[in-house]
Symmetry: C2
Subunit: 635 residues, 2 copies
């Protein structure tokens, strides 16, 4: 067994090849602004909140029970609850890597010890299966989530190994033994099976990248190839629920359970990159394009069906029954980031930006102790406040809730926020690429001792000016992403020269000198966005966007008695920024309350124009129960 | 114990009081037309098809296994499968009452014997609970469906007793013993519980009406009163799923599982009528009005949520994810009919007509051997043909299927079609009321030996002329319903005089002579119907209706390569009847296939007007897989 070698950067995804090389938490420091605030709340409140709930629910204690031999009678939680502990460990690992918090380090080690104590002698590690009085190992591949849990264990260990390569906590050894046991059980000579919930695939590839052990990659490739041939049972939701309907390299669009679909696609890109399987990579890229074109909400949210947490058919994007699970959005970021590293196409970064600002940032409330699991785009009636001390139903999107019976989203948000620096910048052979804009510094140390280094000053997304200051001398190329929404009006100023720039990467190759400054100015006027005519559910409506933010109309901003559903927006004039708030002009409709709601075209009276303020979608439901619309009917 | 007394009419609902008295299968004979065709297919094919599947699935055999003491190991099917046998028995009973088919009589008796043999000594009858190796009786009131199954057993027995009061098959005795056991177990001194799926409530009231035994009524009233106080567990879908969230007399709208909601409301009306509880009846009537105004599809379908087969919130009526379960529509007919008998309001008959033609008639295919469980109003892609020899998933609305894992709808359709004559006409103290129009005869025999008798000749709904010929002399009042959709242009001709009439009941009191004729002419020009502005999901669209029929656009009627989703209807001119087909004028949109579907208002090119034929919604998906729209976007 070779010793683990640590990757050069502390990032979740470190491919051995690709057009872009990731820069991790050591190279990208976020020093303020929108994301720093969220990281601060995440570190100060969310991690402890999650730990509290994992203890309260008994999900960590399950590991103690396994170690004590008492698991069969005392186990708490759903079959995938182990994964929440692993996702918390991953979040803690990134946070420790980011801040070095000694208290967090101590809590992290305590949990690792409890997990490690539950590992079987042969490496198998799961609290739900395989012990006396429990169902046998691997006896429910459709729903058991055993491989899924190992996947999250591995990802936690990878995060830890990359952020604290010198640590002696033993987590990586635990994860490797679990992965080795998986390879033995499911290898070419083992069970010809796969997991109902993809996740082991990207995890094993990352473990191979970390350790250099190619058999982890081979096992991931095997899992990807096995899927799509009906090895899993034909459940009520059909085999597309877990993407076992069509082989990955044959499918044309993401389908079925939206989290599973994105995790699988991410793993398939990882396999394709490491094995040089260009056809597989192209297949997933084409699926991504079809999914973004026809199956994605304006927020970046994915998955419109509550019943099976799944993608609907093309163009099936109802705002009021949007499922748009937080975890699906995180899966979408995982996938888009892998495609970006491989291909360098700015559209992948466009979707990441949209999804981070409008779904990932929407899920946690301002206190970091309540979360949206689903992210609806329309609520007709204000919801009720969820109990503080009781887990909620996952799909209750009325208000954020502290915890859920299926509580995948809070831990997923925590690990994503703690590692968000990893999605900011990349390096190529000749320079740096900035994909997301936030105050901070980006450094890429070259093998020859030189470094490409910039600092970013900006109040983005509140303001469109992004000032990039070069620190250090030398010739290299600085590339800045002009977002896809900045169709018109963006400019770049370099060396006193200002020129218009359009969507895509704008690159400046220069012999930089310390103090050189590049200023990107993005057009931040609020704008109306119209849906494609095939999106039936929002026909006749517009949304309001400003920069990367989608806006929403909340009933708490309306006079009492006025419904968000009775306003009709006047698109004759664009939305405006008034005293820092985005404002649209609306008329109020007064439609009769009919005995039967179908018949003659009802001429509804309306009142004079009034200005109505909107809020960024990510900020909604933070001021008490409220009705809400993203899509506003036009007059 | 008093002997059963048979009700004067062979109808499913025979209240002891009310503004209207039902006329049953002995009094109303359907002799041809739309419904006679469906009754013929139902009798010739559907009943045998259902019997075949019940045997194939082992659901009848479950009763044999109970009798043999082998049920714990061999039982097949879901917890409510007994009810399908009872619904088949009810359908057979009505069909035997209608036709006197001796072969069907023999098959009916065979099944009754097999059911009776499974009854416990104390009257308890269920194949899923209460026998050695099974969960105890009443141990899962939320999901066990035991009381629900007894309800359907009772309804089968009532149908049999009213159509063949002299029969010695023993079904009524079986049902009474089961009902007696329920009263003993759940009476004031028994378990303070209720069933997760309402159905026992209307059944027990009908048994009281049939037998005169008031304790059945008292038990039904107790069940209605017990509901709404949180006696059932707080399941994932919330207690509104089984209406245990709010007491019946406090609720303001139907909510939760749409079949359960309608069955409960029907039972509550029954209780209210028999106990003289006007406040309870008014509460349900107000719930009905709110439900029809804000939670009902243009087809009459109810329930928009797949996840829990439930009503959505007010105005949440997506056409593409319409659940619109066939059984919910049948429940809606049950409820509206009870309200009509009590109050005589024509709007109840309007909804019954709409629902029968556009949901109940839509479910079975032309061969009577395939069914829609859900009734979507929009399919973007043609479905696939369901297997002939394999039960389908209930919610797969792509095409009709021969059977379902949850197969409540085929038996419900069968019993409704076999008894549809019971919804045609009523009597009051001074005459006859015709609510639905089909060729046939209606007779009401008075206690004094006289009879009010009419024959109806019509090709409705293909044609709007309804000729009613009086047979017999005497003074009484003939009332004809002018449907709510006939806002303009309906006329009534009596004694050579023609006058315009509007929606509601138009009454003629005369000293009738045999051969007198009344002709109602309804306006049958196709028409556009607009949705209320609060129904977001179909904003900017119109539907086409003609008479009571909703129409649909099917892709099989379009040239290859044209999508139903790319047509834009021109409402400048009304739809027309051309060679017997309803035709609208459309332009075809040519929208680009975007990389991202939100942004500028896309000017989409369109081609010249063309005429596009529509089909009645009930007839769709009978010519192979097809995409389909009820709501057509306007230009």
């Amino acid at each position: 067994m070779t010793m683990p070698r640590t990757s050069p950067t502390a990032a979740p995804v470190v491919p051995s090849t690709g057009r872009r090389r990731p820069l991790g938490l050591g190279d990208v420091r976020i020093t303020g602004g929108f994301w720093a605030e969220r990281q601060s709340v995440n570190g100060a409140h969310t991690l402890a909140h999650i730990e509290h709930w994992l203890e309260l629910e008994g999900w960590i204690r399950n590991f103690d029970l396994v170690a004590a031999g008492d698991i069969a009678v005392g186990r708490q939680g759903r079959e995938f609850s182990d994964s929440e502990i692993y996702k918390l460990l991953e979040a803690m690992a990134w946070e420790i890597g980011r801040t070095g918090d000694p208290d967090l380090e101590s809590r992290f080690r305590t949990i690792v010890r409890r997990v490690a104590a539950a590992q079987d002698a042969d490496g198998y590690l799961n609290t739900r299966f395989g012990h006396p009085g429990q169902p046998p190992r691997w006896s429910d591949l459709e729903w058991g989530h055993e491989l899924y849990c190992v996947g999250h264990l591995v990802q936690a260990a990878v995060a830890r190994a990359r952020t604290r390569p010198e640590a002696d906590d033993g987590l990586l050894a635990v994860a490797r033994r679990a992965a080795d046991q998986v390879c033995a059980a499911f290898g070419p000579d083992g069970v010809d099976g796969l997991c109902g919930h993809p996740e082991i695939e990207p995890a094993l590839v990352e473990l191979a990248r970390l350790t250099g052990e190619q058999r982890y990659l081979a096992q991931a490739a095997l899992f990807v190839d096995r899927r799509g041939h009906g090895r899993l049972a034909d459940v009520e939701f059909g085999r597309q629920y877990f993407q076992d309907d069509v082989p990955v390299r044959v499918a044309t669009v993401l389908r079925g359970h939206a989290v599973r679909a994105n995790y699988l696609a991410a793993g398939a890109v990882d396999v394709a990159v490491e094995t040089g399987d260009a056809a597989l990579a192209r297949a997933v890229r084409d699926q991504w394009h079809g999914t973004v074109a026809r199956r994605t909400y304006i927020t970046g949210g994915q998955g419109s069906r509550h019943q099976d947490e799944a993608f609907g058919e093309d163009w099936m994007l109802p705002p009021d029954r949007a499922y748009s699970e937080t975890c699906a959005a995180i899966g979408s970021v995982m996938l888009a980031w892998r495609l970006l590293l491989r291909d360098g196409d700015p559209r992948f970064a466009d979707l990441i930006e949209r999804t981070l600002f409008n779904v990932v940032a929407t899920s946690p409330g301002t206190d970091g102790r309540r979360f949206f699991y689903t992210n609806t785009l329309h609520r007709r009636e204000p919801g009720t406040v969820a109990d503080d001390d009781r887990a909620s139903i996952r799909a209750a999107s009325a208000m954020r809730a502290p915890w859920f019976g299926v509580s995948c989203c809070p831990t997923n948000v925590a690990r994503t926020l703690a590692s968000v620096a990893a999605y900011v910048a990349t390096a190529g052979d000749d320079g740096l690429q900035l994909h997301q804009y936030m105050p901070g510094t980006v450094t890429h140390r070259l093998a020859d001792g030189r470094a490409w280094r910039v600092s970013v000053a900006t109040d983005y997304p509140h303001d469109g000016e992004i000032r990039v200051r070069v620190d250090g001398d030398g010739p290299w190329t600085l590339s800045l992403r002009v977002p896809g929404w900045a169709v018109d009006g963006a400019t770049l100023t370099v060396g006193g020269q200002t020129r218009p720039v359009g969507p895509g990467y704008v690159s400046e190759r220069r012999a930089w000198r310390s103090g050189d400054e590049v200023v990107l100015r993005l057009p931040m006027a609020p704008r109306f966005s119209h849906p494609h005519p095939r999106i039936d559910a929002v026909r006749g409506c517009v949304a309001v966007e400003r920069g990367p933010l989608v806006y929403a109309l909340e009933s708490v901003d309306l006079p009492g008695g006025t419904s968000v559903d009775d306003l009709r927006v006047d698109i004759g004039e664009p939305p405006e920024l008034v005293d820092g708030r985005v404002v649209v002009r609306c008329r109020q409709l007064h439609a009769d309350d009919p005995a039967w709601p179908y018949g003659d075209d009802r001429a509804a009276a309306d009142t004079e124009l009034r200005e109505v303020p909107l809020v960024p979608y990510h900020a909604w439901a933070n001021r008490g129960p409220s009705a809400m619309r993203v899509w506003l009917p036009m007059r």
